[in-house]
């Protein structure tokens, strides 16, 4: 199983404006002062080895969309703005005359998780089959997509789409066999509820758990989460806020914090904790700083369990 992150930002997509680009160029030039490069390869090596991640690359700004590779057909979680780039990639790779089957697992249908669909070219092409799965009732799922593609929100209406689109409600806490994977949805605390997915294949386990507020109010609820995360190879976790924000001004906003993720992943013996659904107000430097702090927190609190910690970024690939 391999993961390709097409969108990692929470709530709303963000873009690097001219001032941000200028600051990155300035930092890079300052670091390159006094260096002489004889080839493009030397420049690439310098960028890779001497310029920190926030300046040389950054986290990107597309909203939630993750591709899970390893099945015969295409499989993704959520349809945030990152889906637009996935659609472009597919069109470039296969062209318009090559029908495919797509499986989408929806955490929920808040706007930042469905906004990529009107810009997903395969939806417009007859012959493609698109399965949209969720823990919510079909009417809730379908209504959100139809409303998004109706007047006055969008000029191409839902019924004009060419693909065969099918909605399926998955029973929560039950295993489902889809595209060669075993998949179990779990209800999460979020406005209108969201669903996390535990996805397994070939002895490997991935948990996609975004838009979830893990309050740790009682051990019974927490035990359910720990069971869901247990021994996972990768947990993609909503680490949108600091703990202070999560339990004060942003309480009940439906998101978790970076250090709650560490505590839950340590207790559940997770191997790789991947922070996701980044606060749109945070720039690349802030997200990079939070990653260092989160790793430090894990160093302080962990006893013997080693935990790999990363921050998801657009275009990141992970082998599970």
């Amino acid at each position: 199983m391999q993961l390709h992150f097409w969108g990692t930002r929470g709530s709303i997509p963000v873009a690097a404006n001219g001032l941000i680009v200028r600051e990155k160029i300035k930092k890079a030039l300052l670091l390159a002062k006094g260096h002489h490069f004889k080839s493009e390869e030397q420049i690439d090596r310098f960028i890779d080895e001497s310029i920190e991640f926030p300046t040389q690359y950054g986290y990107g700004g597309d909203s939630s969309c993750i591709q899970i590779l390893g099945g015969d057909e295409h499989m993704l979680c959520d349809m945030g703005s990152g889906l637009r780039r996935f659609g472009q990639h597919i069109m470039k790779k296969y062209g318009p005359q090559n029908p495919k089957v797509y499986h989408f697992f929806m955490s929920h249908v808040h706007w930042d998780h469905i906004m990529g669909f009107p810009f997903f070219p395969p939806a417009y092409i007859p012959g493609n089959i698109i399965h949209i799965y969720g823990g919510h009732r079909i009417e809730i799922l379908e209504d959100a997509f139809r409303r998004q593609q109706s007047s006055p929100c969008f000029p191409v209406y839902w019924d004009q789409l060419g693909a065969d689109i099918q909605f399926t409600q998955l029973k929560e806490n039950k295993w489902h066999e889809i595209n060669g994977f075993r998949i179990k949805p779990k209800r999460q605390v979020h406005h209108g509820a969201s669903f996390g997915y535990r996805i397994e294949k070939g002895g490997k386990a991935l948990v996609y758990s975004t838009d979830a507020e893990h309050k740790q109010e009682n051990e019974k609820d927490t035990a359910g989460i720990l069971d869901f995360f247990h021994n996972a190879d990768v947990v993609i976790f909503d680490a949108m806020y600091s703990l202070a924000d999560m339990i004060t001004i942003k309480e009940d906003w439906g998101h978790s914090s970076n250090i709650v993720g560490v505590d839950l992943c340590l207790r559940a013996k997770v191997k790789h904790y991947c922070m996701f659904h980044h606060e749109p107000a945070y720039n690349d430097e802030t997200l990079f700083g939070i990653l260092q702090e989160t790793r430090r927190y894990a160093e302080i609190v962990r006893e013997d369990h080693p935990l790999k910690i990363s921050t998801a970024y657009d275009n990141m690939l992970i082998d599970v």
């Binding site: 309050k215 740790q216 051990e219 927490t222 600091s242 703990l243 202070a244 924000d245 339990i247 004060t248 914090s257 250090i259 709650v260 560490v262 505590d263 207790r267 702090e293 989160t294 430090r296 927190y297 302080i300 609190v301």
Partner: protein, 126 residues
């Protein structure tokens, strides 16, 4: 987990020992409860938690602290934490709790700030 509390004029000083994590957070909450109940009844206005004996506090423990702070705030009482060990101090910074709670380097500096009258009493006995 060990707890002790003492009254210094109008200040209640609660002393906590050991780590505060998911396995001890409930004990921590129970230890604070009688003092918070006094705040709710208007019998208590100033609480200082001495964390000098706490070598580690996870998010579960921080949550208990925040509930206590919210309760105090709601009932116009003051709460502060004091004498954080370096690791706990770092956790406060990482969680941004240093920005939302009153944190003092020592118990005496906390008492001095919350109750100038109580500091003499405290110094006499320490």
């Amino acid at each position: 987990m060990e707890f002790a509390s003492q009254k210094i004029l109008d200040v209640t000083l609660v002393k906590i020992q050991e780590r505060v994590d998911h396995s001890t957070a409930k004990d921590f909450q129970n230890a604070l409860k009688p003092h918070l109940d006094q705040c709710i009844r208007g019998e208590q206005k100033k609480i200082i938690i001495d964390l000098g004996g706490v070598d580690l506090m996870t998010s579960a423990g921080l949550r208990v602290l925040m509930i206590a702070a919210k309760t105090c705030d709601k009932h116009k009482a003051e709460i502060a934490v004091a004498a954080l060990q370096p690791g706990v101090q770092e956790i406060f910074k990482i969680s941004r709790f240093d920005l939302i709670l009153k944190v003092f380097p020592t118990v005496s500096s906390a008492i001095e700030k919350l109750s100038p009258e109580a500091i003499e009493e405290y110094k006499t006995h320490h």
